[in-house]
Symmetry: C2
Subunit: 192 residues, 2 copies
């Protein structure tokens, strides 16, 4: 009895984001999303585990993808540079997946304390993935944790700037921009 529904995933996502922005993420149900999209809850379940998954699909893979990417980066690069390279590499894949709705997604998250809370946990997992990659490349454990947290800060800020205007620049270039901004600011830290 399963009908094939053209563009079901995109229709569901568009309906979900529309509703999240209208009513607030917390007040939207899966049934309402399916109804708005003109599809069934059953169809929703084929594409997403729950309403949160509409926004974060694939983000569970991010820590592992980053650790993998670090292994592929030129072995002559120092750990910190290798991390930045891996962030830029993985960002291309990520940008393709979310470009269409990045800016609205950002609005939805900014309006929801619950989603921001989940975001913290998600970024802690990303930091752990980066720290693992840094240690594999020879960073001592404490430096690995510091650099990983800084990598997440650069990534988040780059992502935010990109998502505010996804057609104006690539995600990788926004990440690069944030990294350069940090380098310029850190340059004058006194050595004493």
């Amino acid at each position: 009895m399963t009908r094939w529904e053209p563009n079901a995933e995109e229709r569901l996502r568009a309906a979900a984001i529309e509703l999240f922005l209208e009513r607030g993420y917390e007040n939207v149900t899966v049934a309402q999303i399916a109804e708005r999209a003109g599809l069934t809850r059953r169809t929703f379940s084929r594409y997403f585990a729950d309403k949160r998954d509409v926004l974060f699909a694939g983000s569970d893979q991010l820590p592992g993808a980053l650790a993998d990417a670090m292994r592929r980066v030129d072995s002559t690069l120092a750990p910190f540079q290798a991390m930045l390279q891996a962030l830029a590499d993985v960002s291309e894949m990520l940008a393709e997946r979310v470009a269409e709705y990045a800016s609205q997604r950002r609005e939805v998250i900014a309006a929801s304390p619950e989603l921001q809370e989940r975001g913290h946990a998600k970024f802690a997992a990303v930091a752990a993935g980066l720290a693992a990659g840094l240690r594999e490349r020879g960073a001592d454990p404490s430096a690995a944790e510091l650099f990983a947290d800084v990598g997440v800060a650069i990534f988040r800020r780059g992502f935010d700037r990109w998502a505010a205007a996804p057609r104006e620049a690539t995600l990788a270039s926004r990440i690069h921009e944030a990294a350069n901004q940090l380098r310029d600011a850190a340059e004058n830290i006194s050595t004493t």
Copy 2:
């Protein structure tokens, strides 16, 4: 009927940390803490709001204290350097308060996912306090967010290193050490 109990706060804190380490934070009740300290629950309530407060007393003031400290820093310093200075200044106050039990406190938190989760929210609040201070000193809003996240990363790593051996170095010098480590790593970020 209130009796004066000598060193009640210290006795309660020591008992709480002992129990947290023995049984895990999640499995300890306020009644057990009071009993171990040889005091009443009522006495506990005079010093702490709940068992979490034993570990985080005063941390709600941290974001505001950091924003205040940034206002006091020499106005010729660039925003990023002013932030580092404020972190070092506030750290002295913080170190005095937690030096006695910093290392055990760290162990308790490392063993509890619940406390780590709360830690994320706490650090997000600290970042917001730093970002406010950075904006006041002229950083543009997006740079302020980036620098604040990096400031938190430096602070956390410095704090962790200090807490592992609180008598070997000051908290301020550990924060400084982490900042220098980051500067050295960031130096080679390509400018292209």
